[in-house]
Assembly symmetry: C2
Homo-oligomer: 325 residues x 2
């Protein structure tokens, strides 16, 4: 039996091998993905992001347990950005999550970042496709929020939960920028700690302002999604059911009236990611290492050309297929 046969037969070791093959971008990985692509079936992808120490892994742990208890098959992708400053806390989380490894309906996979954050989004998306092909119903994608990466990874998910804690107080203002836009559900974890009420009120007032701006802009349109704030205490399993209910409501909201539309949007955004990665790979293979580029660099250094006109000229030649390596 080949690996793909064993994959199709539900062998988890084969699943892990296929994921590595795809994640490492080995030769022919996209052929493998094309064969695995499940067509009709697709899992609901939920992203969880937030600052280090917000308890994301515990939440994912609890959510996975809840869903598995309902008979659902849950795939977990834990994205570890190789942030030079994030420290070793992640490792402890992973160890705790290993408790889930043994359960038949739960599969957990860590992914390390490499290359650009765009590349990470593309490979996360492909690992989702592998998990979908294997038959998972829900995929939880956990990312530590350290800059650009969580925004890119969020683009791969259908619903995004932004996790914060009472201690995040000072960052609420900063959160307005990037995270308010990607959050479909806010989760206030460790909500039994001092300061929880204050930070919840603060966030609510920000959401209120947002809502007013939106509603005046969208007058007459159907009401937009109202981002809920769900308090949880993950380590004591409090609020986890409510969190999943909020995600489910968002899922329903998204597919409301047009379940096919959701599928189209997801397919389009996955395809755009694949195309971006292809373009990048092709440039690298055929242009960046070519004599054309070498000559262009020499012309710029010798003052015969400027880099911007040169870039445009090179790019056009490359597109016309006049650059071959």
């Amino acid at each position: 039996m080949t690996i793909l046969d064993r994959f199709a037969a539900g062998d988890r070791v084969a699943l892990a091998k296929v994921i590595s093959f795809v994640e490492d971008r080995r030769d022919g990985y996209d052929g493998v993905l094309a064969r695995i692509f499940s067509g009709g079936k697709s899992a609901y992808r939920v992203g969880l992001t937030g600052p280090p120490g917000a308890g994301k892994s515990s939440l994912v742990n609890r959510l996975a347990g809840l869903l598995a208890g309902q008979g659902l098959r849950v795939g977990i992708i834990a994205v570890d950005p190789t942030s030079p400053f994030s420290g070793g806390a992640l490792l402890g989380d992973r160890v705790r999550m290993q408790a889930l490894y043994g359960r038949p309906n739960i599969f957990i996979r860590s992914m390390a970042t490499r290359g650009s954050s765009g590349g990470l989004a593309a490979s996360t998306k492909d690992v989702c496709v592998v998990l979908e092909g294997f038959g998972f119903d829900v995929i939880l994608v956990e990312t530590v929020g350290v800059g650009q990466i969580e925004l890119d990874v969020a683009s791969v998910c259908d619903s995004v939960v932004v996790v914060f804690v009472p201690e995040s107080g000072d960052s609420i203002q900063a959160m307005k920028s990037g995270l308010m836009e990607i959050a479909d559900v806010f989760c206030l974890n460790k909500s039994d700690r001092p300061g929880a009420d204050r930070i919840k009120a603060e966030l609510e007032s920000i959401l209120d302002v947002q809502r007013q701006i939106r509603s005046s802009a969208l007058r007459g349109s159907p009401p937009p999604w109202e981002t809920p704030i769900v308090p949880t205490v993950a380590i004591r399993d409090k609020g986890v059911t409510e969190l999943w209910e909020a995600v489910s409501r968002h899922r329903q909201f998204r597919s409301q009236g047009d379940p096919a539309g959701l599928r189209l949007a997801r397919t389009r955004s996955d395809l755009v990611l694949s195309l971006t990665e292809l373009a990048h790979d092709q440039l690298e293979k055929t242009l960046f290492d070519s004599d054309h580029l070498n000559r262009a660099v020499e012309q710029i250094v010798s003052g015969q050309a400027d880099p911007y006109s040169t870039a445009r000229r090179l790019f056009e030649s490359w597109r016309r297929g006049q650059v071959r390596n």
Copy 2:
């Protein structure tokens, strides 16, 4: 007089306007860059990165003062990743840096991230080109270290200083991954605080191991650069001269024997960045919004095609110019 005439005449308001034009990627920005491109002249670009609170802005402040005192013209680019969790500390730093605004040989510019980190690297590179065209001798690029961004921005610089503090103890292990590779000089700031000796010793032992691995791999080759660790106390102006000496030694090391080689390497890496951005823009304009893409998405959703073969086919059509919007 046009803006570019005023730019050429040394008008700092025109400089600021040109930077905005380029940073915002307005129509024709690359034509402006082509005209500004200084050919022969190019500034030495020094990146400074490290965790929030390491005192990078104070260091940049001191370095700029030191260099301006030597009659050099110094451009500063402060990159603020819109990290959703980084909080408001950056603002305070910026305010402190404003003290430099008034000095004629120093120009400071904040850049906010937007889009992908790759896009940030490309626009940082272009702002460097503008500053070089204006006649700056040294460019200091400050980035807060929050993941991928500092790695991308580092690729735009000739020497990279990684700043850490005694409190970074726990991250030293994690730093091994990404930062060890980009650091040309380590700066241990706030080195008068407890724990400084211990963390310096730790880092030295890591560097030692690295050196041994390298020297056995490179037997017979010329000795590689030995990354120094420079202790500083930026707010009391201690060690800043030594830090700059370390950077200057690295600069000399890089151009040793082959000053033209340094220029070639920089030109090549700038050109590759421009080409990557061009490809991305062109895909977005001509393919992502086209009927071709719409039809492909429908075929995938209806099960007539898989996304991976479709991506490859679409990409090839696009390269052959068969996709027009």
